[in-house]
Structure formats: structure tokens, C-alpha cells
């Protein structure tokens, strides 16, 4: 055992460990903090035990979050930055079009390689004009069924065209998988990919291999093939 610093006060031993772990509360916590403020040995002990506590968190096994996790974080942060500069961010808030920052989303989507993009590229007729390299335009359409809006589809042009879907309260409790399909102006259809809704909410995006203006319609389809909602782009 290495003891190259003064021993902490014996009557504070237990409390120092609990304070380091963040589980000490009330008067006992106040008493220990007051003691640590004037006792060098206990302050040193607390510092070392706190470091071990911090390091323990890093031992937690890593796990991959559901697909689209990054996108949902960005969505919430952007919503927060446009609607609530301080305080707790609002969750799943619908965004105004102006709140989107194409550079951020494009940076994020550049890392998303969905099979749907390949499908879309394969289904696109040859000879179409390339997307505009400058002044990207974002199109927004309501995702609706029977007159009720369940979310939005946004399609951005530019050097990296992308499609982004947000779904609000589409179904009841639980999680379900939905498929995003698009119909092109030439009538062909393509599945872009699938994502999960949690409690009826979700968001998902994918870079497009086809020009943004080649899309006519986006569909949200259940795994049984039923159309849940659609958007005319």
C-alpha cells in the first residue's frame, strides 16, 4: 500500500468514500465538506477517491446506440439553440425551416451510408443534371395521412443532397420499425432505408445519390407494407 501523504482522519474515512461516490447527502455531507476545507489530509484522500470514482465510469461496457442517434442529438441541440437559449431543452420540438443548418446536417449525413442511397442511385435515370453546387435549397413537406400531420420530410439540394425525416406521435406506445420510400418524378420508387420509432417519435436521415429535385413523394411504410403517412415534395 502506498502512503506518501498524511493519513486522513479515521472518523471521516467512511464519509470521505461516500462523498467521493456522490452518495452522501444532507447534514453529513455539509459536515464533511466543512472538514475537508480545513484538513489537507482528508482533502487529498477525497481527491484520490473521487478520481477512482470517475475512472470507474469509464469501465462501463460500450454499446452501439440505435441508428440515427447522432441525428436525433443534433436535432435536439438545434431546436434548443433556436427556441431556448438557456435552461432545459425542449424535446422533439418541431423546427422552423430556418432553424436548420445544412452544413451541420451534411457533415453528419456524410457519415451515414445507407443502402437506400444506392437503391436510389440505381433507380435514377441517366443523364440527369447534377445537383447544384451552390446555394443549396431545402424543401420541406408535411408527412400526413387523412389530413393529420405526423411529421416532416426535408430534402436539401447542394453538393450533398440529403433527406431527413422527423416523425411526431405517429402511433401508440412501444417501438416499431418503419420504412422510408420515395417516388421519383419518372414514377420509379425506391426504398431509402428503415428506422425505428420509439413511442411514436423518431427521426432519420440519409444522403441522396440523386438530385433533390428528382423526388416527388416520400412515404413512410410499415414493415407489413401499409402506408402510414406520405409527403408530397
Amino acid at each position: 500500500m502506498r502512503r506518501d501523504h498524511p493519513m486522513p482522519c479515521p472518523d471521516r474515512h467512511d464519509a470521505l468514500a461516500e462523498l467521493a461516490l456522490g452518495t452522501l447527502a444532507g447534514q453529513e455531507r455539509s459536515d464533511v465538506l466543512a472538514h475537508v476545507a480545513r484538513c489537507h489530509a482528508c482533502a487529498l484522500e477525497l481527491s484520490e477517491l473521487s478520481r477512482i470514482t470517475d475512472d470507474l465510469l469509464q469501465l462501463a461496457p460500450a454499446a452501439s446506440p440505435p441508428v440515427g442517434f447522432e441525428l436525433r442529438v443534433v436535432e435536439r441541440v438545434l431546436a434548443c439553440s433556436t427556441s431556448a437559449p438557456t435552461g432545459r431543452p425542449r424535446r422533439r420540438k418541431r423546427h422552423r425551416l430556418a432553424s436548420w443548418r445544412p452544413a451541420a446536417v451534411a457533415a453528419l449525413l456524410a457519415a451515414v451510408v445507407g443502402t437506400g442511397a444506392g437503391l436510389l442511385a440505381a433507380s435514377t435515370t441517366a443523364g440527369k443534371a447534377p445537383p447544384a453546387a451552390s446555394r443549396p435549397v431545402t424543401l420541406s413537406a408535411s408527412l400526413a395521412r387523412h389530413g393529420r400531420v405526423f411529421g416532416h420530410v426535408r430534402v436539401s439540394s447542394g453538393r450533398t443532397p440529403w433527406l431527413f425525416v422527423t416523425v411526431d406521435d405517429l402511433t401508440g406506445p412501444g417501438s416499431r420499425t418503419v420504412i422510408c420510400e420515395v417516388t421519383l418524378v419518372d414514377g420509379t420508387t425506391a426504398k431509402l432505408g428503415r428506422f425505428r420509432l420509439s413511442q411514436g417519435y423518431g427521426s432519420w436521415g440519409v444522403p441522396l445519390a440523386a438530385p433533390a429535385d428528382s423526388l416527388r413523394r416520400a412515404l413512410l411504410v410499415g414493415t407489413d407494407g401499409s402506408v402510414l403517412a406520405s409527403a408530397r415534395i
Binding site: 452518495t23 465510469l57 452501439s64 446506440p65 447522432e70 436525433r72 443534433v74 434548443c80 457519415a111
Partner: protein, 193 residues
């Protein structure tokens, strides 16, 4: 000329990314989320054992870190520690609100941290100090390991641990203290020249 796919944000140190996030650089934020999402989600999932809740909490942790990046002080600790502590605290809050039932000591995910079932390529264990801590955790008595895990990961007080483990309060306190100080001593001995 072909531009490299890797951006400067992907390679920047944590502190630089947080500084960029504080200034409103979304690319820095995206890189930060991408870098830590597996660890934050893994921690939340280990504590909550519910994928939906874990995702909510992990998102909350990143949103909070992002929106409070300006107050991060690298002199007080590493960014990873700061972020994981946020995730841990939010997980404990969620656990207390949404799952009030007592913890079954036999179902403690983190009491098995030192079970040796971790993947060898785990990046965390590439850190020498953390690998030593991992080994030290495996070496302390199980009762102490469980007490430390209940406090460190689940935020359980000594009184709560005493009730969960059906032991006197003094015993719970001793287990917490002895377990944690043994871990500290094991790492400190290894660090000594």
C-alpha cells in the same frame, strides 16, 4: 484534387471540440457525439437496462454537454469523465423516477464488470490505468465490489445498500470504504515509481 474524408473535427482533441461547440460549431459537436456515443449509451444502458430509456438519457447527456460546453473546464478533469458523469447522474435520476423498485443484487450488470467478459479490443482497456483498475476491481471481495458498484453506478447511499444487501449500515459503509480505498491503493501502487 480529392479531399480527404477525415475532417479536422474528427481528429481534434476533446477540449478543442468542446471549445468549438461552445462557439456554435456544429461540426465539432457532431464529431464529439460520434466519438463518445457508444460509451455514453453503454453506460446508460448498463445502469437502466432499458434500450429506450438509455437512448433518451444518452441524448439528454449529449444535449446537456453541448449546451453547457462553455462551462467545461479542462483543468478540473477530462472531457470523457465530465460527459460520463453527466450520463451517470441522468441515468440515476431516470432510475429513481421511472423504476422505483429495489435492485436485485443478483442482477447487477456492473457488479460483473470484472467478470473478464469484456472484449479485448475494447478501447477503454487500451488505457493502462483503466486496465489496472479493471483488474483491481476483479481482485477485491465480491461484497465490496457490489457495494462500490451500487454506489458508483446506481447512486445508492450506504443506507440503501444496507437494505438491498440485508446488512447493518456500518457493514455497508465499511464495504464501500474498503472497496474504494483498495481500488485506489491498487492503482496508486502501480503508479508509484
Amino acid at each position: 484534387m480529392v479531399r480527404p474524408r477525415a475532417t479536422s473535427s474528427d481528429e481534434a482533441p476533446d477540449e478543442a471540440l468542446l471549445a468549438g461547440m461552445a462557439l456554435g460549431d456544429e461540426r465539432a459537436g457532431v464529431a464529439f457525439v460520434r466519438r463518445y456515443q457508444r460509451r455514453v449509451y453503454g453506460l446508460a444502458l448498463g445502469i437502466l437496462r432499458d434500450p429506450g430509456m438509455a437512448e433518451d438519457v444518452a441524448q439528454d447527456a449529449f444535449v446537456r454537454a453541448w449546451t453547457h460546453a462553455s462551462v467545461f473546464d479542462p483543468r478540473r478533469g477530462a472531457a470523457a469523465t465530465w460527459l460520463l458523469t453527466i450520463a451517470r447522474n441522468l441515468s440515476i435520476d431516470a432510475l429513481r423516477v421511472r423504476r422505483p423498485e429495489p435492485i436485485d443484487p443478483g442482477d447487477l450488470a456492473f457488479a460483473d464488470l470484472a467478470s473478464g467478459e469484456r472484449l479485448p479490443e475494447d478501447a477503454v482497456l487500451a488505457d493502462e490505468m483503466l486496465a489496472r483498475l479493471h483488474d483491481a476491481l476483479a481482485g477485491i471481495p465480491e461484497a465490496q465490489r457490489r457495494a462500490v458498484a451500487l454506489a458508483a453506478f446506481y447512486g445508492r447511499s450506504a443506507q440503501e445498500i444496507a437494505e438491498i444487501e440485508s446488512v447493518p449500515l456500518g457493514t455497508a459503509k465499511s464495504r464501500i470504504r474498503m472497496g474504494l480505498t483498495k481500488l485506489r491503493d491498487a492503482v496508486s501502487v502501480e503508479e508509484a515509481p
